[in-house]
Symmetry: C6
Subunit: 92 residues, 6 copies
Amino acid sequence: MGSIATADTHEAEARDSSDVWLPSLITETPQEGFALAITLSQKGVATTQPDAEVRKELRPEYAQDPDSLIAASHVVATHFQTVAAANDYWRK
Amino acid sequence: MGSIATADTHEAEARDSSDVWLPSLITETPQEGFALAITLSQKGVATTQPDAEVRKELRPEYAQDPDSLIAASHVVATHFQTVAAANDYWRK
Amino acid sequence: MGSIATADTHEAEARDSSDVWLPSLITETPQEGFALAITLSQKGVATTQPDAEVRKELRPEYAQDPDSLIAASHVVATHFQTVAAANDYWRK
Amino acid sequence: MGSIATADTHEAEARDSSDVWLPSLITETPQEGFALAITLSQKGVATTQPDAEVRKELRPEYAQDPDSLIAASHVVATHFQTVAAANDYWRK
Amino acid sequence: MGSIATADTHEAEARDSSDVWLPSLITETPQEGFALAITLSQKGVATTQPDAEVRKELRPEYAQDPDSLIAASHVVATHFQTVAAANDYWRK
Amino acid sequence: MGSIATADTHEAEARDSSDVWLPSLITETPQEGFALAITLSQKGVATTQPDAEVRKELRPEYAQDPDSLIAASHVVATHFQTVAAANDYWRK
């Protein structure tokens, strides 16, 4: 849950950081949209636990636990709902 | 939760991969929409645990656990909400 | 979580199956809409655990567990949100 | 999770049943809307566990458990989101 | 989860009760909207456990438990989503 | 879950408090929007547990627990859905 910063601090960090990982929510296809939802879900985890090594060590624990896998799928579903709305459901 | 890739990497993978599993969110009927919501839920699991054998081995654990079954149904409900909105609730 | 099929396979199954259980999301009253949300929640469970006997055996476990009952109510709430939007909140 | 009935069966039951508990989602005030969201949450529980005596016996277990209380509040929040949208957020 | 009352009973209680705690969802600023979301989350708990003394005794249990704190934050997030939509995201 | 105050009390506190941490939901980019969603999630925790020292002591517990990390990511996903809608999905 990390230390509480004001919205401005977080946004300033996002602005200054050279790491632009989320340029847009717009994708060409639903499948790319689903891939983006996965990225957003993983970033949500990485923001709380920035240490990639720790995340890697945790993998055996959640990747073999059905409830963890279902919970992770639920996060993807919530982000996919956002990305699909952003792309007007790819209704050409 | 897998390794954190930028949105572009995931999307590039989705674009290049010959496996087009999600061409569209549009379905003819609500029942097909519900089936699509199930596919999306399962893909959310498979993305976190790509090994089909491992997923198969986990089945007895979650398929006999009411809380796991309820949680899985909740993921389907979230995706169905997205698919139903994409199809304007099949209101002809 | 079942085996991962492409969206087409699930939809094809839904199309071919003679069992049309979800003809429409439109209902006459909110109360019928709530009943439909319950059906959708139960179908989400039945898709993951198709064996009615197993589901019946699990009933004593979840029907006496407050957290399971609350979680089940949350799935109904998510589906009811979808059905209510589909019916424009029955605002005649 | 009860036995799986087709949507028609549930709706038929809702139509025939003399117990009209949900005539409308429209309320005069946000506070009445919040009260309706509580009713909807409780009905979601009562549908899965229809026995009022059993529900009463379970009360000490969940009413003293913070996680159960938070989870119940989350169900109310989801239904309140639906009722608020139905009433156009009571924006006169 | 309390005893199941019809929607009318709850609403009648809300109407008659002299305690008007939710006159409107409209706030001047997002920060006031976030404060309202917290009030709504707490009310959802208080409706299930009306005894303020019991709630106070439970505090040490949830206030030191990360999963309880995260779950409580999720309820606030759901209510904030409703309040933000009600205020058209304070987009002047 | 804190003591239950009326909506007015919370809002009054938000108004009077010199600490303006949420001036707006509008951000320039999706990445800043994601940063804001993290701030909102953390504020939801800090409102329930205002003691920064306690929150810091809890960190080892949740930062090494996959289910806690997934649950935290789900809160971020819910807030990001709100912030994305507020910014019309940054669709220039």
